[in-house]
C-alpha cells in the first residue's frame, strides 16, 4: 500500500474531479500485534494490518458520509461518490459544518518503536507473579497488545492534521476458585507507554486480583436499607460518565430532554466534585489532539466545584441549539481529588458497600438506575465485613452527584483517565 500522504493526495484529486466543494476526511493505516492468554497459557498470537478511510461531504446544507477499509483508487472513488449521493438524498440542515482553517499540525504520541521482547517478558512475569502470589486466581483470558497507527485528516477549509502513535495495552479477565467455591469474573485493563513497571503494579490490576481472591466466600445483604456506596475509581468514572451522558450529552440537549438543559452556571452537584476533560494532562497517554470537526482539541471543565460550566456539544449540536461548543470529544476524563484519604473514607461509613463492578440497565432518561453490585464488599462500622452476592443497588444519577460524602486523595491512572474513589450517601441497597 502507498503511504497515507500519497493516498490523501490522490483522494484530493478525486474529490476535486467530482466537484465536491465542502468536505472533511480521515485516512488511517495501523498495525496491531496481540498476544492472547487463555486459562493461564499463551494460546494465540494475532497480527492485524488495517486501513480505514472516512469522508463527510456537505452539499447545500446537506450531509452524507461514507467509510471503509479499502484505500485503493477505485475504493476512494466509491467513498466520494457514495458520500455525495448520500448528501444529495439528505434533508437540509444548516447546522452541519466544519471548523474554520487551522494551521497544519503533526502529532507524535507514545511508542513508535516497540520493545516486543521486553513486552513478552512483562507478560510472562505477570503470569508467574499471579501463579505464585495468588494461587487461587485464575486468568481466564489476558491480552497484551501493541498498537501503532498513522492517520491524516484534511478538510475543504485547508486544515491538515497528521498523527503518529503507538501504545502497549494489557487487559485481564479473572476469577478465583478454591476447588469448592468459584467466584464470578472480573476484568480490568490499562494502556501504557513504558515497560518500566511490572504490569501487576499498573492501574488497579493488583487490587482486582486481591479482591477476587477475597471473594470466594460471599454473603447476602439482609433486607433493604439506604446506605453509603464507595465507588471504586473505575466505577466513579462509569457513573460520572453516565451523569454527563444523561444530562449534558448532545442528544439530550438537542431533543430538549436533558434535566440540566437550563442549569449552566448553576450548582448541580456537591461542591467537592470537579470534572474536566484534558487531553494534554501528562497522566493521559494518548490524549486527543484534534476533533472530528477539525478543531485542535482544547481542555474544558464540565463541572467545577459542583457548578455546571457547559454542556458537551460538538459543532453540530452547538449550531443546532445556539449554545457553546466544546473543542474536545470527551474521552480524557479527569476527576479532581478530594481531601479524604481512602482509609478515612472507609472508616467513616456506618453501613454501605464498596462497589467493584455494576451490572445494571442503562439509566432511564430521568436518571433512575438499578442493578447488581458485582465484585463488591459489605462495609459496617468503617470495616469491610464480607464479599457480597445477589446485592442490588438503586438510585438516581442526579442525586448521586448531590450526595457525595467524600472524594479520595488517591487517584488511579490507567493511561486514559484519572479517577478517585468517591463515597455517596443515600443509595438503596437491597438483598434477597
Amino acid at each position: 500500500m502507498a503511504n497515507i500522504r500519497d493516498i490523501a493526495d490522490s483522494f484530493d484529486k478525486i474529490i476535486k474531479d467530482k466537484g465536491i466543494e465542502k468536505f472533511k476526511y480521515t485516512l488511517t493505516e495501523s498495525e496491531k500485534r496481540e498476544l492472547n492468554v487463555e486459562n493461564g497459557e499463551f494460546k494465540l498470537f494475532r497480527t492485524v494490518f488495517s486501513n480505514s478511510g472516512s469522508i463527510k461531504v456537505f452539499k447545500d446544507n446537506k450531509i452524507g458520509s461514507a467509510s471503509g477499509n479499502d484505500l485503493s483508487e477505485e475504493a476512494l472513488e466509491s467513498f466520494a461518490a457514495d458520500a455525495l449521493a448520500a448528501a444529495e438524498s439528505s434533508p437540509e440542515d444548516p447546522a452541519h459544518d466544519i471548523a474554520p482553517y487551522v494551521e497544519p499540525h503533526v502529532f507524535k504520541q507514545g511508542i513508535l518503536e516497540p520493545d516486543i521482547d521486553k513486552f513478552l517478558e512483562r507478560l510472562k512475569e505477570f503470569l508467574a507473579t499471579v501463579a505464585k502470589e495468588y494461587p487461587l486466581v485464575k486468568i481466564i483470558q489476558s491480552t497484551g497488545s501493541y498498537d501503532r497507527w498513522n492517520w491524516l485528516s484534511r478538510n475543504s477549509n485547508g486544515t491538515e492534521f497528521e498523527g503518529f502513535g503507538g501504545q502497549y495495552g494489557f487487559s485481564i479477565e479473572i476469577c478465583a476458585s478454591d476447588g469448592t467455591n468459584t467466584t464470578g469474573f472480573d476484568y480490568t485493563g490499562i494502556g501504557t507507554n513504558d515497560l518500566d513497571k511490572p504490569f501487576i503494579e499498573l492501574g488497579t490490576i493488583r487490587r482486582h486480583i486481591v479482591d477476587i481472591q477475597n471473594s470466594l466466600v460471599t454473603e447476602n445483604v439482609e433486607g433493604k436499607f439506604e446506605g453509603t456506596v464507595i465507588f471504586t475509581p473505575e466505577l466513579t468514572g462509569e457513573f460520572i460518565g453516565g451523569v454527563l451522558g444523561n444530562y449534558c450529552g448532545e442528544g439530550v440537549v438537542i431533543d430538549g430532554t436533558s434535566q440540566w438543559l437550563d442549569k449552566v452556571g448553576e450548582k448541580v452537584a456537591d461542591e467537592k466534585l470537579t470534572v474536566r476533560f484534558d487531553p494534554y494532562d501528562e497522566r493521559i497517554n494518548m490524549g486527543e489532539r484534534a476533533t472530528a470537526n477539525g478543531f485542535l482539541s482544547e481542555p474544558y471543565t464540565v463541572i467545577e466545584k459542583g457548578v455546571l460550566k457547559t454542556h458537551q456539544l460538538s459543532l453540530y449540536g452547538a449550531n443546532k441549539t445556539g449554545r457553546p461548543l466544546v473543542k474536545n470529544t470527551g474521552w480524557d476524563i479527569i476527576i479532581e481529588p478530594g481531601d479524604t484519604s481512602y482509609d478515612d473514607m472507609l472508616a467513616s461509613v456506618k453501613k454501605g458497600i464498596i462497589l467493584g463492578r455494576f451490572s445494571g440497565g442503562s439509566p432511564g432518561a430521568n436518571g433512575e438506575f438499578s442493578g447488581v453490585a458485582k465484585n463488591s464488599f459489605l462495609v459496617e462500622d468503617g470495616k469491610v465485613k464480607c464479599a457480597l452476592s445477589e446485592c442490588m443497588i438503586s438510585g438516581n444519577l442526579g442525586e448521586v452527584v448531590k450526595n457525595i460524602r467524600s472524594i479520595s486523595k488517591e487517584l488511579i491512572c490507567d493511561g486514559g483517565s484519572v479517577l478517585p474513589y468517591m463515597a455517596v450517601d443515600g443509595i438503596v441497597i437491597s438483598g434477597k
Binding site: F45, G256, G360, S394
Partner: protein
Amino acid sequence: MLQDILSTKTSLFADGVQTILRGHENRNRRVVLLKGNMVQNSRSASNGISARVNKNGTYGFASTADYDAEGAEKVLKAATENALFLSKHSNRNIELPASLGTGTVKLNAEIIDTEQKTIIEACKTIDDYIVKKYPDLISRTVVYTEDSQDRIIYTSDAFNGHLVTPRCYIYVMMSAEAKDGSPVELFKAFGGFGSFNDNFGKLDEVYEGIDLLYKRVMDKKEGVYAEAGLKTVILSPYMAGMLAHEAVGHTVEADLVLGGSVAGPSLNKRVGSDLVSLVDFANMYEGKMAPLPVYMDDEGIVAKDVDLIKDGILVGYMNDRETAKHFGMEPKGNARGWGFADEPIIRMRNTCVLPGKNTVEELISSVEDGYYLIDSGNGQADLTGEFMFGVTCGYEIKNGKLGKALLDTTVSGVAFEMLKTVDMVSDKVEWTSSGFCGKKQPMAVSMGGPHMRCKIMIGGR
C-alpha cells in the same frame, strides 16, 4: 458480494498444522433521524483476508485489509510465523482435532444493496407518521441500520464455503413527559434477516408496532416503581430469550466452561424445572429458517443444532474444534468471527427456550400479585450464572389482570436456581435478532422463547 480470490491459495497451506483462510466483508448502512434532524447518514464497508494456523494448540492469526492475492499470501505467512513463534513460548502441546470430513457448503443467500435515498425516504416516512399521529411526544428517533456479513472460507481439513448474513433493522424510540416533568422512553426494533426490500418493502407492520409502542409509552408516563424483592413474574418471549442467551448461554460456551463457569460441574445435572429445554439452533426452527441462520462456522464445521438443556437437565456445551475434543463432544459450528480481523471464537447463534403447553392468557391470569416483564434495554451475566437485565417495559399483575405500567427497573437472579422456579410455559415462541452479543468481538445473534412464569428478584426504588 465478495469475489473468490482465495481458492488458488490453499496450495500454500503448511503441512502438520490446521489452516483456515477467510475472505470477509462487513457492510454497514446507517441513517439516524433525531427529532426529525438527520444526525447520521453513512455507508461503510470493511473487508479483508485472515488466516489462522493451529500448531498443536498454539494459534497464529494474521489479517490484512488488502483483499487480493498478495494479501492472502501475506496473512498465510504471518499466521504461520506467529504460530511458530508462540509455540516456543507456550506450554500448550495439544494433538490437533481429527478431521470430520471435507466438502463445500453452498452459498445461502444474496446481499442486495439499497440506495441511501430509499433508506432515507423510509425513515422520513416513519418519522412523519409519528409526528402527525402522536404530536404529544417530546422526542422521537428513527434509526435504520444494516450490518451484513459475507464470508468465503477455505480450510486444510474441514469444509469450504461462501456464506452471507444480510440483516437490517429500523429502531423507533419515543420519549414522553411524565407528570413530574421527567422524561420516559421506550424503543422497538423492526426487521431481521434479509435486505431492505425483504423487511421494509411495506411499512404496515412498522406502523402497527409504532402504535403499540406509543400506547406503552403513554402507560409508562403514568408508571410506578416496582416493589423490590423476590416476585412471581411472567417473562415475555424477549425476556425469556435474554435469559436463554445471557444467563444460560454464556455459561455453556465451552471456553467459559474451561474458564470456570458454573456449567462445568453441572453437566448432566438438573439446572431447571422439567418445563425448561434450551437449544442453540443452527439454521432451522420448526421447519422454517431460523432468524439468523448459520450453515457453517469459521473453522469449516457444518452447523448443527446444539441441545443445551433437555427437560431441565444440562446436556451439552457449545464448542469449537479444540474444546469439543477436550470435552468429548461434537463441534457443531459455533466458532465465529465478526470482522475480517477477528479470530473465530465460540459464539451463540439462535438460542431459544422451547415452548410449553399453556396460553399466555393462562399465564397472566394465574398471577395474583406480580409483574409482566416485556422488554429489556440490556443484560449481563456472570460465570456463576448470576444475571441482570434492565427492564424498560412491564406492567403490574394484580389478581390475574394487567395493572399499571412500570418505570425502568432491573431484575436479577442466578440462572440455574431461577430456572427451577419455572412452572408455566406458553405454547408460542417469538424471536428477536436485532442485537449484538459482546465477547471480545461483537456478533449478530438471535434469541427467543415463549412466555414463562417464574420467580425473580426485581429492583425497586
